[in-house]
């Protein structure tokens, strides 16, 4: 809003200063491409095209997933979903332990999120607000480790899990991602500006210990940042595929590894596969509808700070 207010008088000045320019443009072209302050039809047209390409693959999956395998052979796919969705979903339930997988995914992602957010906030607060010897050196280590692809250590990790007898258990999926360097970096960047130093000093003057200062001053200020980090950590844990595929078996899968079993069945019914894909996306669609704004501001804040 403030942008329009600021640009309008300037744009008017521009027209006054260079009278030849606006006259040279035909009004039609201006309506199409937009005047300086409001974009024209062309912009909205292109955005609608993007919207269609974003949404159509999902919609198409819902259409095929609610019909039968034969629909896939039709030249032009039908535009609307059919009535077979629940029948296909029933077959999904027969093929894979869907509810167990959903529960596992929820549990794994929640534990990882809780752990990453807690440890990142603690370390990020120390790096942002406390003075200690070796702070800069340690922070450099955090930044350097962010670029290291730790996922490539899967072979020793697998050997360790097998030695511990954890393969097939949820714990084996959780443990390798209990902390992330990105989380520490993100919370540090977030907390540097958010907590004024005076607030910490005055809490210390009042006799609060370090940990109680952290608890009563840092945590309340850190909450929005913790929510953003939590959202992304949850998404990353939820979408992970390679590691759970290695350490879990078909009887005790995550949602992602269970879904992949639909695809690799001997006889593949594509409408069932797509019904499964749609079913697994539904919870995230709901989350997106509720927290989409936060997700967007999280991505955009992370970009500016990162």
């Amino acid at each position: 809003m403030s942008v329009t207010d600021r640009t309008r008088p300037r744009a008017a000045a521009a027209e006054a200063a260079v009278p030849a320019r606006p006259a040279a443009r035909t009004p039609l072209r201006q309506r199409f491409l937009g005047s300086g302050t409001r974009p024209g039809f062309l912009s909205y047209g292109l955005l609608i095209a993007f919207l269609v390409s974003s949404a159509y693959p999902l919609w198409w999956s819902a259409v095929i997933g609610s019909r039968s395998n034969e629909t896939l052979g039709e030249t032009w796919p039908p535009l609307l979903p059919g009535g077979n969705f629940w029948k296909n979903v029933g077959e999904v339930f027969d093929t894979i332990p869907f509810w167990l997988a959903l529960g596992n995914s929820l549990l794994i992602s929640s534990i990882i999120t809780l752990s990453v957010v807690s440890f990142s906030t603690l370390a990020g607060y120390a790096f942002a607000k406390l003075r200690f010897r070796g702070r800069n050196g340690l922070m450099l280590m955090v930044i350097a480790t962010m670029a290291i692809p730790t996922q490539l250590g899967i072979i020793p990790l697998f050997m360790v899990m097998r030695t511990l007898g954890w393969t097939g258990e949820i714990g084996a999926v959780v443990v390798p991602t209990l902390v992330t360097a990105f989380g520490v970096f993100f919370m540090r960047q977030y907390l540097v500006d958010v907590i004024p130093d005076e607030l910490i000093e005055s809490a210390r003057m009042d006799g609060a210990s370090m940990i109680s200062t952290f608890w009563h001053v840092a945590i309340p200020a850190a909450r929005p940042g913790m929510a953003i980090l939590g959202l992304f950590t949850f998404m990353t844990a939820w979408t992970d595929f390679l590691w759970p595929l290695l350490v879990l078996d078909a009887g005790n899968p995550t949602l992602q590894t269970a879904l992949s079993q639909l695809q690799s069945a001997r006889y593949v019914d594509y409408s069932v596969v797509l019904a499964g894909a749609v079913l697994a996306t539904l919870p995230l669609l709901v989350l997106f509808a509720l927290a989409g704004k936060q997700l967007i501001s999280g991505i955009m804040q992370g970009a500016v700070k990162g």
């Binding site: 942008v3 329009t4 640009t7 000045a13 260079v18 320019r21 300086g36 974009p39 912009s43 909205y44 955005l47 993007f50 919207l51 949404a55 693959p57 999902l58 999956s61 896939l72 039709e74 030249t75 603690l122 370390a123 120390a126 406390l130 200690f132 480790t145 670029a147 730790t150 490539l152 250590g153 899967i154 072979i155 020793p156 990790l157 697998f158 360790v160 390798p176 209990l178 902390v179 210990s209 370090m210 998404m235 595929f241 949602l255 879904l259 992949s260 639909l262 594509y270 797509l274 894909a277 697994a280 996306t281 995230l284 989409g292 997700l295 967007i296 955009m300 992370g302 970009a303 990162g306």
Partner: protein, 343 residues
């Protein structure tokens, strides 16, 4: 303070108590101040060393041995695994496929994301709606994306070949043809990530001071000119960030090629077998942990190399002609323009 007041009044025994009590408290306080930071950062470093760093380093140890999935550690072979892997044409094939898919996804993705960000950086109605609409694919997990697009790119009954057929065109062999399969896999990556990257670039674009655009517009620069001489130079650091993240992720692509052909690991002719997929095949199908670790370690070196190259290029670009130069030029022009209009 209290010690000096108490000292003359209290009995000898009380004196020592009064003397030590505050110092103990003070010492506790000093300890609290000095040690707390280390306690706060310790959990991260300890856990990271255990589950992040140690496995990576130990991968190198494993790569020096004959090491079988079930039989375990065998003979020490030194760099023998490295020699074998570097002569393995399947390894080079996987590297070629990874690079090809990476380039087919990174370049169009960045170009489209830039364009999309520029579209979103206008004074749109219903801003949040448009932003959400570009982010929609991000919430579909890679497994679901792979399932959906594998069906769309089906060779016999896939949506895309059906449409090509109805237009009188020949069907494309999306799985059997090397290049076509790379395009199909890159499409999955692009579909999921373009909007996400567009939002990152949009955030950078919004941080560009608006008066830069206004003064450029006053000087008669059109929208295209403004985009190339103001927007692009100003958001370069963010573009480098996007490229680096895309590289780290892109070189480790696994889910999409794994599920594109659920039976063979990367196609019947390995035409879309990526390096991580080959690593997986080596470790868990051929059960050769030694060689698989070698592949992991080589890929690690390649990713680090890419990171360093990216960093050096971005530094060179930043020093050659950064946003600062553009800003100075424009503000001077702006000043002139203002002077002229004031007169």
């Amino acid at each position: 303070m209290t010690t000096t007041v108490n000292r003359p009044a209290g009995p000898p025994s009380g004196r020592t108590v009064a003397k030590t009590k505050p110092t103990f408290k003070q010492r506790l306080n000093v300890f609290d101040v000095k040690a707390s930071p280390y306690f706060y950062v310790a959990p991260f470093f300890i856990l990271f060393a255990l589950v992040g760093l140690f496995p990576l380093v130990y991968t190198f140890v494993v790569s020096l041995y004959d090491w079988h999935l079930l039989k375990g550690q065998g003979d020490f072979v030194g760099l023998g695994n490295f020699v074998e892997v570097l002569q393995d044409r399947f390894f080079w094939n996987s590297l070629f496929n990874t690079m090809s898919i990476f380039l087919l996804s990174a370049i169009p993705q960045l170009a489209v994301a830039l364009f999309l960000a520029a579209m979103l950086d206008q004074n749109l109605r219903a801003k949040t709606f448009w932003r959400m609409s570009v982010l929609l694919p991000y919430i579909v997990t890679p497994v679901a994306v792979a399932m959906i697009f594998t069906n769309m790119f089906g060779e016999q009954y896939g949506l895309i070949n059906n449409i090509l057929g109805s237009l009188g065109l020949d069907p494309v062999m999306w799985k059997n043809d090397t290049f076509a399969s790379h395009v199909a896999i890159a499409t999955m990556v692009n579909w999921r990530w373009t909007g996400y990257n567009a939002l990152i670039l949009l955030a950078a674009m919004q941080a560009v001071p608006r008066d830069l655009y206004e003064s450029a517009a006053l000087d008669g620069a059109g929208a295209v000119r403004r985009f190339f001489s103001i927007t692009l130079p100003s958001i370069r650091p963010t573009m480098v960030f996007v490229v680096i993240t895309a590289t780290i992720g892109g070189l480790q692509i696994f889910t999409e090629p794994r599920l594109f052909d659920p039976v063979a690991a990367g196609g019947t002719q390995r035409q879309f077998q990526t390096t991580v997929l080959y690593l997986w095949e080596m470790a868990f199908q051929r059960q050769n942990f030694g060689k698989a670790s070698t592949i992991a370690w080589l890929l690690f070196l390649i990713i680090v190399l890419f990171g360093v190259i990216n960093y050096l290029i971005s530094r060179k670009i930043a020093t050659a002609d950064g946003p600062r130069g553009a800003k100075v030029r424009l503000s001077r022009a702006d000043r002139k323009r203002i002077e002229r209009t004031n007169r």
